[in-house]
């Protein structure tokens, strides 16, 4: 929650600026508007032979569960550059990013996931500081009941189905909160 102007330090008020249609944090002193927008998470599905690189999370949320390497995209990088950087940070994995594969909007947390297919260039991987463990898993070894995120499950399911079919089809969709 934004309480102060990050340009002049005065208090903000929430109101709809002229010509806008949504409430924004507007500085009562200098008029500066702080916008809040969805964040992009970039990641990849690194493949080596018939195996997939997965990471066991050493951080919250979902500590101890398995994921594909992914994280917040940074300013001044492209999405594929960010996806490759995350593979290096989380698994010391050198990857070649191939193609955008799945894109999921997650409106209730204001995030968009962009997952790429990637070629793992070297099977010598090891946990980065955000991973407890990393491993190359064959299809039969995927820990389906210990996956960290819905996007991981969906991306893996699409990948395995497409690999069997022999053709990879990019997918996009939404992930909504689980019904209670």
């Amino acid at each position: 929650m934004i309480k102060f102007c990050n340009s002049c330090g005065a208090a903000v008020a929430y109101r709809i600026p002229e010509g806008d249609s949504l409430e924004r944090a507007v500085c009562a002193a200098c008029g500066h508007i702080q916008y809040q927008n969805p964040k992009i998470v970039v990641g990849c599905l690194p493949v080596y032979g018939d195996r997939i690189l997965m990471c066991k999370r050493a951080i919250e949320p979902r500590y101890g569960l398995w994921t594909l390497p992914a994280g917040f995209m940074e300013n001044h990088e492209s999405a594929p550059e960010g996806a490759a950087r995350e593979a290096m940070e989380e698994a010391n994995a050198r990857v070649e990013i191939e193609y955008l594969y799945t894109v999921y909007s997650i409106p209730h947390i204001s995030q968009v996931y962009m997952m790429f297919r990637a070629r793992l260039l070297d099977p010598d991987v090891s946990p980065g500081v955000e991973s407890l463990e990393v491993k190359l898993v064959a299809e039969a070894e995927i820990p389906w009941d210990q996956l960290a995120f819905a996007m991981v499950k969906r991306t893996l399911e699409h990948f395995l189905a497409d690999r069997r079919a022999g053709v990879f089809v990019p997918r996009f969709g939404d992930i909504r909160p689980p019904q209670r």
Copy 2:
């Protein structure tokens, strides 16, 4: 440029937080970190018969040049919802979003464009406040020398080529600054 903490109003300092690898705006008083991340622009290519909906910009940047309806994605919406919203705001256009079509990273301005193919449900369109003029253009009428953005040119080129080929293939790529 962030100068003050938006949580407590104190001055920030730029430094690399523990466990991070990039400089962030860190509050010297309360420790709050303000992250800055790439913004998502969502839009669509609305088609009615053989014609495409285009908008002449009434705002900077690129005032007076032609674009496809697109704008910053908002929190708590999906990418397709945002794309449909922008078509309504810029051209009073009711669209059915079909499929994610082009995704471009623009690292030097820290933006990612996500453009969808869409079906224009009703040809009765009119300029919103951000448009000087809107129109449905056939291929021969596209104002190639008055396009606002590289992503518009590329998306239109792909669309026209794919339409001729009879199959639409999603594309992703980067847009880099023009060489001087």
